[in-house]
């Protein structure tokens, strides 16, 4: 009995220790000071994603909201570009015609995101007409949303995870840019 309890406790302890060292709680362990990243991310719909995205860029320490918005759009651009590459690669090997169609639609949506939405957001934030930045980022979220809906009746959604990140990150960027209005 004693052994079982000890084993369980040790087991739990190990789990909690591991969980504690995830990015989220690691941040919280550093204290609850008015950190620009945290306070900004609290105003976005995906706090954890926002924090980990921004903090993964060293420029985020000491950045103001406009700076964070720029970091966010850079991250979004990287994710969207990578997802587009993923889609293109999948298209080359896809055999199922319905899957191909859904992927082609997503390629169109992602072309729009990378070629138009993100540059508009970047330009708007750098030059100081943020309303267009909110629009660009929201458009990107909607394009990702549309891509996802194309897979609703598909058995597999191979780019589910990356598409969701692009969508959620777009929503995060839109919220941050909104703060600049």
């Amino acid at each position: 009995m004693n052994n079982t309890i000890s084993l369980t406790l040790l087991h739990l302890a190990f789990c909690f220790t591991l969980v504690s060292f995830t990015p989220i709680s690691a941040l919280e362990l550093h204290g609850t000071g008015a950190n620009m990243v945290e306070t900004t991310c609290q105003k976005t719909p995906f706090y954890n994603l926002c924090v980990s995205a921004l903090k993964s860029d060293p420029r985020s320490s000491g950045a103001d909201v406009a700076g964070l918005a720029q970091i966010g759009t850079d991250k979004l651009k990287a994710k969207a570009t990578a997802t587009l590459r993923q889609i293109t690669a999948l298209l080359k090997v896809a055999k199922d015609p319905e899957l191909k169609m859904a992927l082609r639609d997503c390629a169109d949506y992602y072309n729009a995101i990378v070629k138009y939405d993100i540059p508009v957001a970047v330009e708007a934030v750098t030059k100081g007409d943020p309303k267009f930045g909110v629009e660009g980022a929201t458009d990107a979220a909607n394009e990702a949303d549309a891509c996802g809906r194309g897979f609703k009746n598909q058995p597999k959604f191979p780019i589910y995870a990356s598409n969701k990140v692009v969508h959620d990150l777009s929503a995060v960027v839109a919220s941050i840019v909104q703060l600049l209005l």
């Binding site: 969980v19 994603l49 007409d129 909607n142």
Partner: protein, 649 residues
């Protein structure tokens, strides 16, 4: 390589079993270790709990269970909603219908998309347009400049487009007036206004976004004042003439107005800005448009309204039916302050008194101050700007009408945005609180065949087709009389009504909705109602609302489905009056002579070309209505490049 893992909380490694049977032999050591670990974990757990905020639990669950379409994930995939309070319109114009989660973006084809291009509204041949700039009348021509992206159907790389017209309707495109070729406007040749000097010369003040992304004001003037087409422009060599003053941020300083004369003979302009969340208008005096003096005070400020873009300031006559030069002042004159609010993408105006000596302005009714009261237009309408038309002694208003379809469709069709038909602005003597807007009379030159309908009775709950032939280019003038009995007998209630939160035309009231169905197909599967809704309060008083319902304007899911509209004052003895301009994908509607105006963009998939029809409708439960209408087919304005090889775009 895409690795999304850094953005995901690491799933718990529950399942790893670190301990083994060998541990059993060292009981005392193990007990100490256990206690130590327990203390540590309690400490960590406590830290986690106390500082955990708003984590995406739904996100983690999805990852663990691998579900593709759990309800929580669908909810999270909605477009981001914004707007600080209930009733503030969505800034992003992507409001999909609530039951459209299963639908894809609509497969627009070229036939549907090319139908959307307007026949008599100003728009460039392709690409993106936004704010109207520097409108003026000069040497026989009306000039119109505009924010333009020469490269794409989205905002960016902004320069000044240019077009001229003899009558504000038939426009001819000219070469770009100004491009981003100086360090002080390299990142944007933004909005500005023209001032005509007493000797007839023109000066233009505009905002430039510098290579360092600072917003500054620049001076430009025609290269050749004897050129009526004002094709070439020169930028003053000493630009910028104004930089953000102390206390104003580099990116909160734009859109200078037309100048007006002070009693000291100086020129005065105002520029919108903000301090924290208070929208303000700065005032500068100048003698030469080169050196400026910032006034100590500001023209006006309204807390909570955010950045004031495209500020406009102009006089209106309390007594005369004509416009006034921007410098006019006097006892029978009121002044209007207008601002485009960045925060909600709407244009607001307020009527008040200008105090010349200290350059301030006070609203007549603080409750409807700038940004919290009346709007020029309750639909999609922004960055509006007026100018004094000395040719016909009127004040004319331009307004930018953006798209409310999906951006993907804009890119597919290769263009985005139109301008409203220019409107005259007059002080509404009858209410004393509103301005009246009305399409310039020159639009009547487009009228072709007319149809007249007299006293058409529309019973409660019915629809009456109006046979006018093709119904995509129309000018409609209508009057409605509601039967008095219903008006008097209906019981009032305390329920408040608003167009935007109502159920649209399917929500039946005793005295409304009733009006017109434009761009509707025969089966009414697509329809755009432009209508009145009368609400009777428990005190017996009638309130009339004027609305535009887009919820069924198209079966496509990726277009705006909102219901626009507002209260419209209807005075004793007035019939309900309506004017509607239908021009393919734009509908401009004016109630009570232009007291309340709504512009909307409509993107039908079926109610296009010959299939678009016009109907009268009355979906009230008690009132019957009698309608009299005059309807004209409208010709195209044939807007095209200026007919001269060298000078056309």
């Amino acid at each position: 390589m895409v690795d999304t893992r850094p953005f995901l909380p690491v799933s718990s490694h529950a399942g790893s079993d670190p301990t083994g049977p060998s541990e059993n032999r060292r009981k005392p050591m193990k007990l100490q270790l256990s206690i130590l670990f327990v203390l540590l974990t309690v400490g960590f757990f406590a830290a986690l709990l106390t500082s955990n905020n708003g984590s995406d639990n739904g996100f983690v669950k999805e990852n663990e269970h691998g579900s593709l379409a759990s309800p929580s994930s669908e909810k999270q995939l909605r477009p981001v909603s914004r707007g600080p309070a209930v009733g503030v319109s969505e800034k992003s114009n992507r409001l999909f219908a609530k039951d459209n989660e299963n639908q894809l973006a609509y497969p627009w084809n070229n036939s549907m998309l090319s139908w959307q291009r307007t026949a008599f509204h100003f728009q460039p041949e392709k690409n993106w347009m936004n704010d109207p700039n520097g409108p003026l009348f000069y040497k026989g021509w009306y000039h119109f400049f505009y924010q333009y992206n020469p490269h794409a159907a989205v905002w960016g790389d902004i320069v000044w487009g240019h077009a001229v017209s003899k009558d504000l309707i038939h426009w001819l495109h000219l070469p770009l007036a100004m491009v981003a070729d100086q360090w002080y406007d390299k990142n944007g040749v933004w909005t500005g206004s023209a001032t005509i000097l007493p000797d007839g010369k023109v000066v233009m003040l505009y905002t430039g976004s510098t290579t360092e992304n600072v917003q500054v004001q620049n001076l430009a003037y025609p290269a050749d004042h004897s050129d009526p087409l004002l094709i070439n422009w020169v930028k003053y060599s000493g630009n910028p003439v104004l930089v953000p003053p102390p206390g104003i941020l580099d990116k909160d300083f734009r859109d200078p107005t037309t100048a007006w004369l002070t009693s000291e003979g100086k020129w005065r302009i105002t520029i919108g800005s903000k301090i924290n969340k208070t929208g303000i208008a700065l005032v500068y005096d100048t003698k030469d448009f080169i050196n400026y003096e910032l006034l100590d005070g500001i023209l006006h400020a309204v807390p909570g309204t955010g950045m004031w873009e495209c500020v406009d300031f102009f006089p209106v006559s309390k007594t005369e039916e004509n416009g006034l030069d921007t410098s006019v002042n006097g006892p029978s004159v009121k002044h209007v302050v207008k601002a485009s609010l960045d925060d909600d993408r709407h244009d607001y105006y307020s009527i008040g008194t200008y105090h010349e000596k200290n350059g301030t302005w006070i609203p007549d009714e603080p409750k409807i101050d700038v940004g919290i009261g009346l709007r020029y237009d309750y639909g999609i309408y922004y960055a509006a700007k007026t100018f004094y038309d000395q040719n016909k002694n009127r004040r004319v208003l331009w307004g930018w009408i953006g798209e409310s379809d999906s951006e993907a469709a804009d890119m597919q069709k290769g263009w985005a945005s139109v301008q409203s038909i220019p409107r005259t602005i007059l002080f509404d003597k009858k209410t004393g609180t509103h301005l009246l807007q009305w399409p310039v009379e020159e639009i009547e030159s487009l009228r072709l065949k007319s149809y007249e309908f007299n006293q058409v009775k529309v019973q409660a709950g019915s629809v009456v087709p109006l046979d006018v032939g093709p119904a995509t280019q129309l000018d409609i003038i209508a009057e409605f009389e509601i039967d008095n009995e219903a008006l008097e007998k209906t019981t009032g209630s305390n329920v408040t009504f608003s167009c935007s939160s109502s159920g649209g035309t399917v929500e039946r009231g005793a005295l409304g909705p009733l009006g017109l169905l434009v761009l509707a197909d025969d089966s009414l599967s697509e329809q755009t109602p432009v209508y009145f809704y009368i609400a009777k309060g428990s005190d017996g008083k009638l309130k009339t609302f004027f609305c535009n319902d887009q919820s069924r304007s198209s079966v496509a899911s990726d277009v705006n489905k909102q219901i626009y509209g507002n209260l419209v004052p209807v005075l004793e003895g007035e019939k309900l009056s309506l004017r509607v301009l239908v021009d393919h994908s734009i509908v401009e509607s004016f109630a009570q002579g232009g007291r309340t105006v709504i512009t909307s963009r409509v993107y039908p998939t079926k109610a296009i070309y010959g299939a678009a029809k016009l109907f009268l409708f009355n979906n009230a439960t008690e009132a019957s209505v009698s309608a009299s209408l005059r309807i004209w087919q409208m010709n195209s304005a044939f807007i095209r490049p200026y007919p001269n090889d060298k000078e056309s775009q």
